[in-house]
Symmetry: C2
Subunit: 159 residues, 2 copies
């Protein structure tokens, strides 16, 4: 068996068990959880030929079709130059299309193609199931608490 894929054991309790302040420990825990979660989600998407960033685009368009590239850049927290490449790829794959805005000829609005919508619908359940499997370990009350805390933290991040 080739050990090509990811390892499974955090062999080194390097950072988690040291007696730091709880803010720092919570931050490290979040970064590590994200790393794990990202890999789980990526693996699930790879079966559909999607990257996480591309799935993000599809999901964003599912709920906000017709947004501009600039708006997408702001939502995804990346630069507009980055969005160009991102959209180039999903457009080349036939999942998204750019349409000129008749009112402002500078902007291009983004729409899902039928194939893109179909793919999004196909990939979504697996992602949901994965999230449910992991986050389902917490009770609904805990999930609400978690969500509220994360929202406050994100607000602190922006402001």
């Amino acid at each position: 068996m080739s050990p090509t894929r990811k390892p499974e054991k955090p062999a080194l309790p390097v950072l988690n068990d040291d007696p730091r302040s709880w803010d720092f420990r919570a931050a490290v825990a979040m970064l590590r959880l994200h790393g794990r979660l990202e890999r789980c989600l990526s693996d699930g998407l790879a079966a559909h030929g999607l990257t996480l960033a591309q799935f993000d685009v599809l999901m964003t368009l599912c709920h906000g079709e017709g947004i501009t590239q600039q708006e997408l850049a702001e939502w995804l927290l990346v630069t507009k130059a980055n969005v160009v490449g991102l959209i180039d790829r999903v457009e080349a794959a036939g999942w998204v299309e750019r349409r000129a805005d008749p009112e402002d000829r500078r902007v291009k609005r983004l729409y899902l193609t039928d194939a893109g919508r179909k793919l999004a619908r196909k990939a979504q359940p697996g992602q949901h199931a994965l999230v449910r499997r992991i986050f389902g370990r917490l009770s609904e009350a805990e999930l609400r608490q978690l969500h509220a805390m994360l929202a406050r933290l994100e607000e602190a991040c922006s402001g």
Copy 2:
């Protein structure tokens, strides 16, 4: 003609306000917080010429100097091939050095150089301050709760 949009806040309430289950909402909130946090931390590190991954290496070695590349790969949740490039860069920068293990000549153990240790000590306070500024919005009791929940989630991710 339209009033200038503020591109600093997430203009699209696309995913957060839809009536999904709390597990999904919590997951999305976490992914978004991570995105923001990652950028904040990266910006702080860029001033020191460090990437987040490189800072991770330095911090890991600060607390577990002498680990092998394989152990580092497991800890960072990446492949060993990835670690080679990562260490190549921090070694070229003069922050880390590989040392042959006399007992098993296959392995190379990783150590911080004086410059690396100095840089880690210089970069750390800013990162801590940033974490404190953000996570300080929660009380210590909340931070403990958050940490516990995140740890349970990470466990669910692995197992």
